[in-house]
């Protein structure tokens, strides 16, 4: 297939494409393929899959619209883009649900075959937007995707009804032409993915090629575009989502620690893909256990940890509620345990497929009693790999449950990832107890399970199987050193303080929070987790306007890095953007007594860079 064209090819620095259709139209797949071919071209990219909780809401309705937005650029980018430059709408509902996001002047590519009266009515249109002039602010391309797809598939003997299902590949072909994406990787992928069903493979191939040729020959488009490779650091790259990075990070951590990985989980959106990924990796010695409920998932993980494995459970908000009691037990037992919470909109069932920084205070305080746990929060999809290793290192070193807060945006979003040199990662030493650590006055060697390491304050980890180290631990308060049941008041306070000091002491080993400082800055924008991209892009824009802004982002939310107090006090103003009603800001205000301002959005979608920029301008715009 010729990739050249008679018409001119214009250079673009960046473009944001949004594919929208019915849940059953394959929009996620289409977006994902476009992303991969862009990654292979060497673009920087960031994606935002945006889909409903219903698997197949009634076709053609607004509730059933599924979208995938991808931002590609010839330079380093941080977000999936504030607004699409191109919206591909497979039906009226997709147009109606997304048009509000599309700025005037942008391009709409619509499947005109789907704009019949019935579909328009289902989408709630009283007149056809393609003919009533309501889209006059846009460049609209009406493409008969369904009928053209059916036409090319007919020759291959595919029934029209089946051929209709390949129309997303027509759209993919068309957009691939429009942005001069290479076609071979997608054709190869179709062959591999649908190889078992040659008719489907053939239909998809024909639809894809037809879409590509349509762009080339239909005289509709005056030009096509090229987004050149972004200047990446040298290295080998792949494209990765947060959930995949997290699963692979757990595999890496398991290897670094020499501990077999046990995952006890109950399916829950948007965390299930971690369970799926690890379930496929038996050759790594991973045991995955789909438990009867969330409680059993974390319970089994804790049981495995007692036995000397790397015990992990993965969940989302509702599951974290249910796991709370077991996490408290792990705090008391002082055993390593990894709890991954891929946050989603709450409360209750909330917004299962949407992102929200919903559970920070839950992770901090969601247990009875004084039960502190370290909290790790990755900032981008690929950083989920590092966060998993960090979490395991803390859990194993300090014999404590660690909560890793990802979210739906990180979990499903993709970005290019420079593959790490695995051999350069520092090993994690489980330092199992191997011999008695105490001698009784009568000379008998003894094992005391609650003797603490003077540096870390961690207790020994003594999995069953070693003679002489038999011991009993449990949820009742334990006597210092011996671990025997104790109701002694002084001992209880001492143990509460040991546990608190142990977690607080982790701060000593954490890297300082890095500040992207500007001389004269009077505002610090501080964030945690998945808001990193939007905050950084917003800060860049504010700086481009001449505003002096500093930025810092937390990878560890509990304990805070040691220099954080000095950092937040260094600037007259502190702005904390969060996808919640202000959870980190409460912690910062309480800890450091600074008047941090909260910027909040709780809509199940990430911040747009423009929203961050606006907030910065509002706070310090007058001081330009």
């Amino acid at each position: 297939m010729a990739t050249g064209t008679r018409r001119e090819t214009e250079q673009l620095e960046r473009v944001v494409v949004r594919f929208a259709g019915d849940s059953g139209d394959g929009m996620q797949l289409t977006g994902d393929r476009f992303t991969t071919s862009s990654a292979l071209v060497g673009n920087d990219l960031s994606t935002f899959p945006d889909f409903p909780a219903e698997i197949r809401a009634p076709a053609g309705t607004l509730a059933g619209v599924s979208a995938f937005q991808v931002h590609i650029a010839d330079r380093d980018i941080l977000t999936p883009g504030d607004a699409p430059d191109v919206l591909v709408a497979m039906n009226p509902a997709a147009l109606r649900a997304n048009i509000g996001l599309v700025p005037a002047g942008a391009t709409l590519i619509v499947n005109v075959d789907a704009f019949d009266e019935r579909s328009l009515a289902k989408a709630g249109y009283s007149s056809n937007p393609l003919t009533d002039n309501s889209l006059s602010a846009y460049r609209v391309y009406e493409v008969p995707m369904t009928s053209l797809t059916q036409e090319v598939c007919k020759e291959a003997g595919v029934k029209p009804r089946d051929a209709e299902r390949s129309k997303n590949f027509f759209a993919l072909g068309l957009v691939s032409w429009l942005y001069t994406r290479p076609v071979e990787p997608t054709l190869e992928w179709i062959a591999a993915r649908f190889g078992a069903n040659p008719t489907v493979a053939e239909a998809n191939t024909r639809a894809f090629r037809a879409g590509y040729h349509f762009g080339e020959t239909a005289e509709l488009f005056t030009a096509n575009y090229e987004v050149r490779p972004a200047p990446f650091e040298p290295g080998e790259y792949t494209q990765i989502t947060g959930n995949q990075a997290l699963a692979w990070g757990l595999l890496a951590a398991s290897r670094l620690a020499g501990l077999p990985l046990f995952l006890g989980s109950y399916p829950i959106t948007p965390a299930s893909d971690i369970l799926h990924e690890l379930s496929r990796r038996k050759e790594f010695g991973v045991r995955t256990f789909q438990a009867e409920d969330e409680i059993a998932g974390v319970g089994a993980a804790l049981g495995a940890a007692f036995g000397g494995c790397l015990g992990v459970t993965t969940t989302s908000g509702p599951g974290l509620d249910l796991k709370s009691e077991t996490i408290g037990l792990a705090v008391n037992l002082e055993l390593p345990l990894i709890v991954v919470d891929v946050q989603r909109g709450g409360p209750s069932t909330g917004l299962p497929t949407k992102a929200e920084q919903a559970d920070l205070l839950h992770a901090m305080y969601g247990r009875h009693g004084e039960a502190p746990v370290p909290i790790v929060a990755p900032r981008t999809p690929s950083r989920c790999f590092d966060a998993a290793i960090d979490a395991v290192r803390l859990a194993v070193t300090y014999r404590t449950p660690v909560i890793l807060l990802s979210d739906g945006y990180l979990a499903n979003g993709a970005e290019p990832w420079r593959l790490p040199d695995l051999s350069a990662l520092e090993p994690i030493d489980p330092a199992f107890a191997s011999e008695p650590n105490h001698v009784d006055p009568d000379g008998t060697p003894k094992f005391l399970p609650y003797v603490r390491d003077p540096q870390t304050l961690a207790r020994p980890w003594a999995p069953p199987g070693v003679p002489g180290l038999e011991h009993r631990i449990g949820g009742l308060e334990k006597a210092d050193l011996t671990g025997n049941v104790s109701y002694d008041p002084e001992n209880h306070e001492a143990m509460v303080r040991w546990r608190a000091n142990k977690i607080a002491g982790i701060a000593k080993t954490l890297p300082d929070v890095e500040v992207d400082h500007e001389d004269g800055a009077e505002l610090l924008v501080l964030g945690w987790g998945s808001t990193y991209g939007a905050i950084t892009a917003g800060v860049r824009r504010a700086r481009a306007r001449g505003l002096k802004v500093a930025q810092a982002h937390l990878d560890f939310v509990n304990p805070f890095p040691l220099n954080l107090g000095e950092v937040v006090r260094r600037y007259p103003k502190v702005l904390i953007p969060e996808i919640n009603l202000g959870q980190l800001s409460r912690l910062i205000r309480a800890e450091y007594l600074v008047d941090a301002q909260s910027l909040n959005k709780v809509q199940g979608v990430p911040f747009r860079a423009g929203e961050i920029e606006d907030a910065i301008v509002k706070l310090i715009g007058g001081a330009r």
Partner: protein, 338 residues
């Protein structure tokens, strides 16, 4: 591995003072277990007792083995993680009627159906003891307790029926007044591959004294306990004068052997694949005031969960080699930036 050291009961008792109420049935169960352990041919360091919450759940503190006293109802779940990752260990779960059948009901049935390698001892005293006397899921209907001053409204669970319904591969019952019988049943349960479930009728002398007296007291036993012996006709009584027959409609009935003849009696077969007859036996007594079967109701072989889990790993490694993380990271589309 060195030879298993010879031990005595003393070696299996921890240095902790036992704190159950004086006269509690738990003492005799603890003694039975501690005395049995030296005979099982197992190592202390490879033995783990896990429990949830309740009076029974204090059991691990008194065993000089590895132990974990966890949270209410969750011991079978925690034990599942341990047993599946450490097949070298002997995993025991000690639980009670509230712990296993109320708050932990879900974990119990799933551990049983999966056939995870653990021995579950359920001390059934038909009352909540640790919280001082509320009715439990095995308390008889209309029971007057602190939380049911006008009588309880809940139909009780029959733990044996429940375990059979949950696809358990080993189901047995014993009682705290007969150490020999307890030890025989515990030994069988321990030796069973997979999840073994043992209901132990246990007297709470403070909040539910005498709950099982009508069947377990020395005088009553011969006429009220129906010993289940594999391969033998089911009969009981001082002279074996009574027995169990199956009617054409499937019902089991207790009859005088003299009337029907020994050949008419049901011959107990604990290995029957169909759990129907075992279930019928579990329903023979309406409560511990009618002749009640004790012993092993069911003991069948089925693949053990942890072993199957390990087998999947071995097979994957035979097929693909041991996982190579560098290769995995490169398993999708990759590109190189010079």
């Amino acid at each position: 591995m060195t030879a298993i050291p010879v031990t005595t009961r003393k070696d299996w008792a921890s240095d902790q003072e036992v704190r159950w109420c004086p006269g509690c049935g738990d003492y005799s169960i603890l003694a039975a277990v501690q005395m049995l352990m030296p005979e099982l041919g197992v190592r202390r360091e490879s033995t783990v007792f896990l429990s949830g919450i309740g009076c029974a759940a204090r059991f691990p503190y008194y065993m000089n083995t590895y132990g974990l006293h966890s949270i209410h109802g969750r011991a079978p779940a925690i034990a599942t993680g341990l047993a599946t990752t450490r097949p070298d260990l002997d995993v025991w779960v000690v639980t009670g009627d509230g712990d296993a059948l109320s708050i932990g009901g879900n974990h119990l049935i799933h551990a049983l159906r999966r056939n995870v390698n653990m021995t579950i001892l359920l001390f059934n005293n038909q009352i909540y003891g640790l919280t001082k006397g509320q009715y439990s899921p095995t308390s008889e209907l209309s029971k007057i307790t602190k939380s049911t001053p006008f009588g309880s409204l809940d139909t009780p669970f029959n733990p044996i029926s429940l375990a059979l319904g949950a696809e358990a591969t080993f189901v047995a019952r014993t009682h705290d007044m007969d150490r020999g019988h307890m030890q025989e049943i515990f030994r069988r349960a321990h030796d069973h591959k997979g999840a073994a479930f043992v209901e132990v009728y246990q007297n709470c002398n403070v909040y539910n004294d005498g709950a099982f007296e009508k069947i377990t007291s020395r005088d009553a036993r011969s006429s009220m306990l129906i010993p289940l012996v594999h391969g033998q006709p089911i009969r009981f009584g001082a002279e074996g004068e009574r027995g169990v027959v199956q009617r054409p409609d499937g019902r089991l009935e207790i009859v005088d052997v003299a009337e029907v003849g020994e050949d008419a009696l049901v011959v107990h077969d604990e290995t029957r694949d169909d759990p129907g007859l075992a279930f019928a036996l579990s329903r023979l007594a309406a409560g511990p005031y009618e002749p009640t079967p004790i012993g092993v109701f069911r003991a069948v072989e089925r693949p053990e969960y942890g072993e199957e889990m390990s087998r999947q790993i071995v097979r994957a490694q035979e097929r693909l080699g041991v996982g190579d993380l560098d290769a995995l990271l490169r398993s999708g589309s990759t590109w190189t930036v010079e």
